[in-house]
Amino acid sequence: MAATAVLRRRRFSALAVREWLQGYLFAAPFLIGFAAFVAFPMLYSIWLMFQKWDLLSPPVFVGLRNIQRALTDELALKSLYNSAYYTFLAVPVQ
């Protein structure tokens, strides 16, 4: 009894591991693509948030100054307000 249980569990787990590998293999395009073209750009833009960069010379670390600038910039605030206005006014109408 014990021997069959062990045998069965081992066979099951070998199958399960096989299925894991197949699962990763089939999902690989998405996993790689997500890492390369979604996660990386997002993390990269978070990193860029703290840099001053004109694309020509190497980026310079400026701390929170970009955020400070965005929060005190009239145009940025205005466009945030406009987006909110548009979203909350236009979407309920539809």
Partner: protein, 305 residues
């Protein structure tokens, strides 16, 4: 019998309800007609303007049917820029993205639908999360990444494909189209497990299960995804605008935009002629594939199991 001998007040009530229903239908009809006019009006005006002489385009009152249809507008408009070349480019890109999406999304969808592996549900949530992510957010870092990969330079891949087409196609080979993966997963979940189990018992590999059992049973969802992907690539303007450098590699959408620049002399009828010509394939596809649009929406709503 019962209906004939029903008391009078019942008949009255029913007819009153019928009146209300009729009024509702009339209101609905009016609203629908107004919506139809709103949506169809500009399109019809564009089509009719494409056949007008220059003086008729902005004539008041509106000329709906041109006195003499100017079929030559089409010839002239499509020769202003190499539109034949643009059409080949666009259809090539459509084929590449459709093939990519169908291959990668079906594999990934199968993995999410049927295979059990650690982290599956987490990654499925991530996939759904990307659906919410506005494309604009990652646009700039993505461009920088593609530039770093060397995909925004002039040049070709193996001498066939412009290098600039890689940013426009490679993501589609990576199943980065969450909606389509989701649609396919839901469809796959609805296919009886027993078919697959029988194949497994007979010693089929997962690949042959997917390609010889699941996919042949999934023609409706394949058609839906193919049509959606075609339209997405065909209508895409922003990404080709950003990545494609050489005019020979332009898509139809870019060609149409450039025609606006050519129109310094106010040749609006030519712009409308080109627009109508570009609209035509989409219209044809919509007419022939309408069934799949409806199916696609129905699948989104009800899901599988």
């Amino acid at each position: 019998m019962a209906t004939i001998t029903a008391p009078r007040f019942l008949i009255l009530r029913r007819s009153r309800r019928q009146i209300i229903e009729t009024i509702g239908l009339i209101v609905l009809q009016i609203v629908m007609t107004l919506a139809l006019i709103t949506f169809l009006g500009p399109t019809l005006w564009m089509i009719s303007s494409s056949l007008k002489a220059r003086t008729e385009v902005f004539a008041v009152p509106i000329v709906w049917i041109p006195a003499v249809p100017q079929w030559g507008n089409y010839v002239e408009a499509l020769n202003l820029l190499p539109f034949g070349r643009f059409a080949i480019n666009t259809f090539g890109l459509c084929l590449l993205t459709m093939a990519g999406t169908l291959t990668s999304a079906s594999m990934v969808a199968y993995s999410f639908a049927r295979l059990r592996w650690p982290g599956r549900d987490f990654f499925f949530m991530l996939l759904l999360g990307t659906m919410m992510l506005p494309e604009i957010v990652t646009l700039i870092p993505r461009f920088i990444e593609f530039r770093w990969l060397g995909w925004v330079k002039p040049g070709t891949v193996l001498g066939i494909l412009p290098l600039n087409y890689l940013p426009l196609t490679v993501p589609y080979w990576m199943a980065l189209t969450p909606l389509y993966v989701f649609l396919m997963r839901q469809f796959f979940k609805g296919i009886p497990m027993e078919l697959e189990e029988a194949a497994l018992v007979d010693g089929a590999s997962r690949f042959s299960i997917l390609f010889r059992i699941i996919l042949p049973l999934s023609k409706p969802v394949i058609a839906t995804v193919a049509v959606f992907q075609f339209l997405q690539t065909y209508n895409d303007f922003l990404e080709p605008l950003i990545y494609i450098r050489n005019r020979n590699d332009w898509t139809l959408a870019l060609g149409l935009r450039a025609l606006n620049d050519v129109q310094q002399t106010g040749q609006w009828e030519l712009l409308f002629a080109a627009s109508t010509a570009v609209l035509l394939p989409v219209l044809l596809i919509f007419i022939f594939a309408q069934r799949f649009f409806v199916q696609g929406i129905a699948t989104t709503g009800f899901g599988g199991r």
